[in-house]
């Protein structure tokens, strides 16, 4: 196989695996938007805090791995519940911009609180998996990416099933469709809002552990959250399959850009290439590839 072709395959495989890890974080965003119509600009910070909790438990307090992971899950779920109760419930029925601003404020607070309360500086988040990549012909795959992709797929499939088939999932979609009518059917809308934020907590906790291992834990871990927007715009804000497809597209596009364009311009295209795509997508299909269209009957 020629070097060019194997380079291409390397970029693709890396892009797809990283893309699935973006999908996992995007799933957190989608869950909240699907159920509560709230746009969470603090998704990256959720992931960052999860990284801080896990790395803090491992490196600062010397807890075993399973305790650290459990702690991250429990604290993020609790955080989701409390946040909904204390802050977002009061914003129900207010203009969308109120929620947007509130989550932006929350993002800033979390970026401050993480380093202040848990630890400052950068800490690694070691996981007991091997470092040497698997070699598959010309392609090499780091085990952490494989693990990340696996966890992402499992959760995407799990939540996909939940929304499509389970009664609670159908109720959540009903809430997303029309809150007032859902209330009239005896659905406790506020409780489901809490559940949605808690589910986002679960996904963010796992995202934080995986991305924390890949990038190391400091405030910059929150930056992966920025990749969520092209992912969800491409896939559709409220679509779980869309989060998968969007993640894969973003992962591939940024790797291709980094591989083929960076040598000519000196680097950095990786960070904005997905946004170029996002703007193009908005111009062509504003509701994303799988997003729900507003049904207009004539």
């Amino acid at each position: 196989m020629s070097d060019d072709l194997s380079f291409f395959f390397l970029l693709m495989s890396n892009g797809l695996l990283i893309g699935l890890m973006y999908s996992l974080i995007a799933l957190g965003f989608v869950l909240v938007y699907k159920a509560t119509d709230a746009i969470n600009f603090a998704q990256g910070e959720f992931v960052m805090i999860a990284g801080f909790v896990t790395a803090g438990a491992l490196m600062v307090w010397g807890a075993p791995l399973w305790v650290a992971v459990a702690l991250a899950l429990v604290s993020l779920v609790a955080f989701g519940f409390v946040l909904e109760r204390v802050m977002l419930r009061r914003l129900i029925g207010r203009p969308v911009i109120a929620v947007v601003m509130a989550t932006i404020g929350l993002a800033a607070i979390l970026r401050g609180v993480g380093p202040f309360v848990i630890f400052s500086g950068t800490k690694p988040l070691p996981l007991p998996i091997r470092d040497e990549p698997f070699m598959l012909g010309p392609i090499f795959i780091p085990p952490i990416q494989l693990l990340g992709a696996g966890v992402s797929l499992a959760f995407l499939a799990g939540f996909g099933w939940f929304f499509l088939k389970s009664r609670k999932g159908i109720a959540m979609r009903a809430v997303a469709d029309n809150q007032q009518v859902a209330m009239a059917m005896g659905i406790d809308v506020e409780r489901y809002f809490g559940v949605a934020w808690a589910m986002t907590g679960v996904v963010s906790a796992l995202g934080g552990i995986l991305w924390g291992n890949l990038l190391g834990v400091d405030v910059n871990l929150a930056l992966v959250g920025f990749k969520v927007f092209p992912v969800v715009i491409l896939g559709g804000l409220d679509s779980i399959p869309g989060a998968i497809i969007g993640g894969l597209i973003v992962g591939v596009v940024e790797n291709i850009a980094a591989g083929y364009v960076d040598p000519y311009v000196g680097g950095g295209t990786k960070d904005f290439a997905p946004y170029v795509l996002m703007i193009l997508a908005l111009m062509i299909r504003p509701y994303g590839i799988f997003g729900k269209r507003i049904i207009e009957r004539v």
Binding site: R167, R173, Q180, V181, A184, M185, G186, I187, I295
Partner: protein, 264 residues
């Protein structure tokens, strides 16, 4: 029995919408609430179902009682659990859910899966057309099918009382008659109590046994359906009937307000 006693509703802390409404809905009967746009009919239903608070409205005076229990302070899901379910006007289906998913969502308070399945079958018996369209996204159903779906969805909660808001709105007359026929059937076979809000007074008074007329947030008239049908004011303002054969000049029409004798 469902009863409202001198209920006052204020929106946003300042807008007085219901000014002391009292009415009784007899168990197992169909009671209708008539009135023009903006009279407060829908607000009355929302006061019962507890949905006012989601619109920043509040019952500030009076009480609402159902089977001897006060329900005007309960959240909507608690009211549904007590057996009162509201069907909104304007066919508000969950557009992005299929027909069957709409029904499943309607059965939310029912824990037992078997009974949910049974409930779906019951709805399909009353509305065979919904069965044919069970896996269609409900936003794409026709208007009549959507109206059937919202009534069927409300049935899934196994209610004692259905608050039915303008089921005839924007539907062809034949469909309206079909739907009213089914409501009557539900009332007889399932012992479903119905509080029916309608603008189509003629039709409402044929299936109801008792009626109330609302204007400007007050009940201005009530009586048995037969008595209301014979009332000259109802005839003129709601049924569109005038003295048989008499030609009417524009001046009479123009001064119709003076003839609403209940307001004087």
């Amino acid at each position: 029995m469902l009863g409202l006693n001198n209920v006052e509703v204020i929106y946003d802390g300042v807008i007085l919408v219901l000014k002391g409404v009292s009415l009784n809905v007899r168990d197992g009967g169909i009671t209708t609430l008539l009135g023009a746009n903006g009279a407060g009919k829908t607000t009355t239903l929302k006061a019962v179902s507890g949905l006012l608070r989601s619109e920043r409205g509040d019952v500030t005076k009076g009480s609402i009682e159902f089977s001897g229990e006060r329900i005007d302070r309960l959240p909507p899901h608690a009211v549904v659990r007590r057996g009162i379910v509201q069907v909104f006007e304007g066919r508000r289906v969950f557009e992005h859910l299929t027909t069957e998913e709409n029904l499943i969502a309607g059965a939310h308070i029912q824990k037992d899966r078997q009974r949910v399945a049974g409930g779906i079958e019951r709805v399909y018996e009353y509305f065979p057309r919904l069965k044919e369209r069970r896996s269609v996204q409900s936003g794409y159903l026709s208007g009549g099918e959507q109206q059937m779906l919202v009534i069927g969805r409300a049935l899934m909660a196994n209610p004692h009382v259905m608050l039915l808001d303008e089921p005839s709105l924007g539907l062809a007359p034949m469909l309206v008659e079909e739907i009213f026929g089914i409501v009557q059937q539900l009332n007889r076979q399932e012992k479903l109590t119905v509080l029916l809000v309608e603008q189509n007074a003629a039709l409402a008074l044929t299936i109801a046994e008792h009626g109330y007329v609302m204007e400007n947030g007050r009940i201005v008239l009530d009586g048995s359906a037969d008595a209301l049908r014979e009332n000259p004011d109802i005839k003129e303002f709601y049924l569109g009937l005038t003295e048989v054969g008499a030609r009417r000049s524009y001046r009479d029409v123009k001064h119709y307000k003076r003839r609403k004798r209940w307001l004087s």
